[in-house]
Structure formats: C-alpha cells, structure tokens
Amino acid sequence: MTQKYLIPLTAVFLLFLVAYAGAGAGLGWFFGIVFPYLAVIAFLVGFVIKVMGWARSAVPFRIPTTCGQQKSLPWIKQNRIDNPDTASGVFIRMLLEIFLFRSLFRNTKAAFNRTASNRITYSWEIFLWVAALAFHYAFLVVLLRHFRFFTSPVSSWVQFLEALDGIVQLGLPGLFLSGVVLPAAVLFLLARRLFDQKVRYISQASDYFPLFLILGIALTGIFMRYFTKVDITAIKEMTMGLVTLSPTIPDGVANLFYAHLFLVSILFAYFPASKLMHLGGVFLSPTRNMANNTRAKRHVNPWNYDVPIHTYEQYEDHFRDKMIEAGLPVEKKE
C-alpha cells in the first residue's frame, strides 16, 4: 500500500537529482535542449493521437445525464442548463462544467442532522471543489505567466497577468499569489489521497506521481524565484533560443533551472499516457456535451445494424388459436 506513493515520490526525487547532477556534469545541452524538444513532441503527438482515438469512436446514442426538468409542455419550466435541449444550453452547461467544475460543486451543499437541525456543516467535499478549482486556476496562471520567457518583447497581457497575480505587492521579488495557491492546493489534494481512507483505497501510483511531479515543479520554481535566486536574463536567453529554434546554452544558467525544466518536460511527456488527459476528455464526455432532445430530433447511430426480431406474424402463428378463442383480432383466421 505504501509503495503506491513512496515509489512515485522517490521517482520524482530521482528525476530531480538526475537533472541537477547531470547539468552540473556538463549535460546541460541534453536537459536544456534535447529533452525539452522531445517532450513537446511527445506531448503533442500523444495528445493528438489520444484525442483522435476518442474522436474515431462513434457516439451511437444520445445519453446525457439529465440533472433537471426536461423540455416538455410549454408551461412547465425547463432547466435549460442541466437538461439542455439546444446547443446553446449544452454550451452553457459545458462552460460551467469546464470553468467552474459544476458537477463537483454539487457535492458541497450544506447538510443537516437530527440533533442539530439548524447547524450547517460543510463536508470535507467542499474543500475538494475549492482545492480543485484553486489548483487548476493557479496552474493556468503559472503556465501563462511563463510566457514572459517565450516572448520578447513581453506581451502586455502577460504583464497584466503578472500585475494581477502580484497584486499584494509583498516582498522583493514580489510575491505571486499563484505561487502560494498552487502548492497549497497540491498539498491538500495529496493529503486527501493519503489521509482519507476511501480516497487512499482507490488511489494508484499513477494518481500520486503527477501530484508529486507538479509539486516538484512548483517548488523548484519557487526556490529559484524567492530563495536560491538565479540569473533570469540568462535563462530567458536560453528559453528564447528554444522557442526561436536556435537553441543556445548561455553562461550562468543555474543547475536548479535544468532540474525545473526537466521535471516540466517529464510532465509534458507523461501527460498523454496518463489520467491527465482529462484535460481533453472533459470536453468530450457524451453525458455532458449532448442535448437531451432525442425524442424531438433523431440521433443517428453510424453502426446501427438490423437485428432479428420476433415479428407479429411469428407471434400470431404461435398463438393464433388461443387468440381466436379469446376473441382477439388476428390477421389470418387460419
């Protein structure tokens, strides 16, 4: 049981050491140039193959999970979002699902007891939703902020995002909120897997690995920014070299940065082969992205085929005498 998380933890730690020591031993070109390129290729190719694979599978039936009143009689109020019958309703449902994790939010309602009928308790589950939301948004902000290393001059939207993320203006270099929220959320999700018996029971090594990996990425990044400090002008020279396809290894790039970049590359390469593909899957789930309108509009199954049925004729042949005797109408009197 413990190996489920100890092995991934050790793996992330070893990966870090490999890159840190490797860069120190003069393999910067590998960890800084070769592997990142390979990782991006693996990520894109893997992602595309996976999604194309999903797309190739048919959607034979229209089976949305309906979570509200259907469209029926004109005077009955339809729940257009939870039981959409139009594309626009589906669009809003998906929007809420993707940006606000609406289904997960359903978990979080207040509850009431026999004894303390007026006491409102929030279950542990609201924190799952909060942490999931915090984690994904913080990750997105962190990711987008890194565009300052890929554009020169830096786009204004990146600067705006940085200003927003650094709005507390605390310390020098200024604190980014996402840098606090991301590790905190990851730690919560990790703690949940470790200490909540039921989640611990269902968790696999492949659930722990991405968490440790992301935590490793976040911590190396945070260390570079706030603690050990690195020369970011040199680092940007290097990243710009990568994205302009003229890679260079400038002087003064810290080994810690190679470790950071290597862990990121691992994440990218690992992504398509893992559960992280829920990034793509959330858009494609037929129980959410279809309208509940099959009774009004025929849905076609591309592989629909004819099946043998027990026809009325066979039925009548079988029961004709009894039917006639009972006075039931028949096609053939014989």
Binding site: A111, N113, R114, S123, W124, D196, Q197, K198, R200
Partner: protein, 171 residues
C-alpha cells in the same frame, strides 16, 4: 454513585467510543464515510447507528425491559441484518460495550455492567432473528404479490410450484 448515574455521567464518552467501534466493523475505506457526522440522508448507516446507540444508552441509564431494549436496538440491527455480516458479526458491536465500559467507568461497576450488556446482547440476538425472519417472509410474500396474487384473483394460477416462486435455485 450507582451504575446508572455513572452511565449518565459517561454518556458522551461511551457513545463516542461505542459508535466508533461499531463503525469500525466496516472496512476502513467505508468506515470513514459511514462515521462522518453529516447529512443523515447522505449517510443513513452512520446516522441511524449513532441515533440507535444513543437511544440504547439512554435506555440503559433509565428503566428498561428486554422488550424496550429490543425495540431500541431495532434500527441498527435491521441494517446489519441485510448487510453481508454473519450473525455473530451482526451483533458483535454490542460486546464492544464491555471493553469500553472497562476503560470509561469505575471498575466497581464492571460486573454489573457486564451483566447489563449481556441482556442487551440477548435482546440483540432476538431482534436479529426477527429481522431475518422478516426477510424470509418478505421473499415469500413478494413473489406472491408479484404474480401470484393477481393470477389468483383472475383464476389463472394453475401450476406455480414453490421453486418457481423462490427463483431458480436448482439451475
């Protein structure tokens, strides 16, 4: 201090430990959910167990008969009777009370308390048997209601055999 006073005094502690011990008869992955103190509709097993144990403790601290004990125990036994427990497992949670009593209450009361728990256990066994009988009765009446009753009313029943009513065990 009499045993009953001691029971009232230690009520909260007894209940807490007894509830936890009872819930721990489930696999730990489930026990966490069943043991949580939230919505009784989202977690009926946990809620009913807690409420029943509380009622039983209250009863022990006041006047009780084997009848009232049985009645008080009913909700939790009724649940355990349909879960995949053996008869021993289903009532085992009552025995836990002895051990908990030792740790919580004055040792002067131990023997008296043990005897009290024995009575609860007997009531529990009685109730378990009743619940199991209920279940067998339900099986029979259900299949009857399902087809038999309607057929019978319509005078259509001719050859329904016992085995047909109870399913297809022989297959």
């Amino acid at each position: 201090m009499t045993l009953k006073q001691s029971l009232t005094q230690n009520h909260d502690q007894l209940l807490k430990k007894w509830f936890q011990a009872t819930i721990d008869t489930y696999p730990p992955q489930s026990a966490r959910i069943l043991g949580k103190d939230v919505d009784r509709f989202d977690n009926p097993v946990g809620a009913v167990t807690r409420e029943t144990l509380e009622d039983v403790l209250h009863l022990l601290a006041s006047d009780y008969t084997s009848d009232t004990l049985e009645k008080a125990l009913d909700p939790v036994i009724r649940i355990r009777a349909v879960q995949a427990f053996s008869a021993a497992e289903a009532v085992s949670f009552i025995f836990f009370l002895k051990k908990i009593g030792e740790t919580v209450m004055d040792s002067a009361h131990t023997r008296e308390f043990d005897r009290m728990v024995d009575q609860v256990v007997l009531a529990g066994f009685n109730r378990l048997m009743k619940c199991r009988e209920d279940i067998f009765l339900l099986k029979a009446t259900e299949s009857k209601r399902r087809i038999h009753a309607a057929f019978e009313r319509a005078g259509l029943v001719k050859e329904l055999k016992e085995e047909d009513l109870l399913g297809s065990k022989k297959s």
